[in-house]
């Protein structure tokens, strides 16, 4: 972390060890042991081969859900700070409603109440709405509310002088937001957005209650039919942890680069 260009005298081995990421070693040890077991232990290998195809759906609902959540979050975040009381209250209602209900309950409610209600009102038989799509919509509506708060905080973190300078040059509110405020805000909140992406990847496991055949659902199916519970759930844990650790290391690296840039 400390650049090699700076010579700091008298670093003892104690100081070096204090900075050493033992936690990462421990996690990597678990991941490596699991990886070896996947190759060597036939039971675990079989569980792994059954579960792993679910990663495609896990990634699909996470990526699609997050993309929609970004749009919803930006709109709701802008609505939260709108000077128009109607828009502001609609945005606050959305955010507070979602934040007040457990994610699992919301997924069930959105998938089995909201989606049928909306599709019926458009004259579409709700049985034609796939469970994957319901999972994506549910997750994006839930995460849209969380992202709204991040966007709001990001916009409010930009000094008022930036908006005043943009407006005093004759740019309207939308132009000032689009070209001056949001580019700076998004840069500031990108680590927080990354964290929420990881959280959403994990919460995509809740889509299993809709019987979406993502990782968790496949693990449950395998465990239920073979009664090999330890194998199934250790493999499942291994799959998620590999993805989340990789992403969070990527995020740390990006944050450090961001920090260097702004100096």
């Amino acid at each position: 972390m400390a650049g090699p260009d700076i010579q700091i005298p008298d670093i003892t081995w104690r100081d070096n060890w204090r900075e050493f990421p033992f936690w990462l070693v421990a996690i990597f040890a678990f991941l490596i042991v699991m990886a070896i077991l996947v190759f060597t232990n036939p039971d675990i290998k079989e569980a792994f081969l059954f579960i792993i195809p679910g990663i495609q759906i896990t990634l699909y609902i996470t990526l699609a859900g997050f993309a929609i959540a970004l749009v919803l979050g930006l709109l709701a975040g802008l609505g939260r700070i709108s000077s128009n009381a109607v828009i502001r209250n609609i945005a606050i209602t959305y955010v507070e409603f979602i934040r007040g209900v457990p994610t699992l309950v919301l997924i069930l409610t959105l998938a089995f109440v909201l989606v049928p209600a909306v599709s019926n009102s458009f004259g579409v038989d709700n049985r034609n709405v796939s469970i994957e799509l319901r999972a994506i919509l549910s997750l994006s509506i839930i995460y849209g509310a969380f992202l709204a708060e991040i966007f709001r905080a990001g916009i409010e973190s930009i000094s008022k002088g930036q908006m005043e300078a943009a407006r005093s040059l004759g740019m309207n509110y939308r132009q000032s937001m689009q070209f001056i405020i949001l580019p700076q805000a998004v840069r500031n909140i990108s680590p927080a957005l990354g964290n929420d992406f990881i959280a959403m990847l994990k919460d995509s496991s809740l889509a299993s209650v809709l019987a979406v055949r993502e990782l968790t659902q496949r693990a449950r199916l395998y465990a239920g039919s073979t009664f090999r519970f330890p194998e199934s759930y250790l493999v499942l844990t291994f799959c998620y942890l590999t993805m989340t650790i990789a992403l969070s290391l990527l995020l740390r690296w990006y944050e450090q680069r961001l920090g260097k840039d702004s100096r």
């Binding site: 002088g161 040059l169 740019m171 132009q175 580019p183």
Partner: protein, 246 residues
Amino acid sequence: MSDNIIVVDQLHKYFGHVQAVKGVDLSLRRGEVVLIVGPSGSGKSTVLRCINHLETPTKGGIYIDGVHLEDKKTNINEVRAEVGMVFQQFNLFPHLTVLQNVTIAQEKVRKRSKAEAEKIAMEQLQRVGIPEKAGAYPRQLSGGQQQRVAIARSLAMQPKIMLFDEPTSALDPEMIKEVLDVMLDLAKAGMTMVVVTHEMGFAKAAADRVVFMDDGQIVEVGPPDQIFGTPTHERTQLFLSKILAH
């Protein structure tokens, strides 16, 4: 009225229950340079900010070139494009290069092509003396350079009026001159300017009139020599004795 490019008519401004401006009248002819001085909290910045509608007057009106700013039919963005503003804290856009800082409003508001905007931007950067910094980011510039870029950014819009809100107050002493020199050139070129500042040298060299404000009101108006040399009002004398004493 047609002679006056800026008319401030009985301006009142409240912030909550605090009255910051209490009935200010002020008119500027085309090409006139007016300085507003006064103790902090006297409402001088508020008057300036009302002139380009960053603050909305509670009562009274502002007319720019005959256009009433408080009229619902007025397109405030069109008016603001004609009124440049320079801030104490520069407020350059940190995510854009110096050149982009100067071109963005030209492209988005004036609808100029990128090439045309860049040509005008380079002319203005030349004018404020730092064309070589076009590719730099604001954080790589000194305070004085940043403020000169901010002036160039406003000038690139080819405004009729320039407002300066304590443009040198956030600068290290050795950088004040480079900013004042740019402002002086601008005044000589015939720009209509309203400047909130305590820079007496600039006042004597460039100002047509000095307005002394205290407690939300205009106490005294006159040519710089008279206001700074033989102020008639007791409050003006008291204020000047304080700022001249240091």
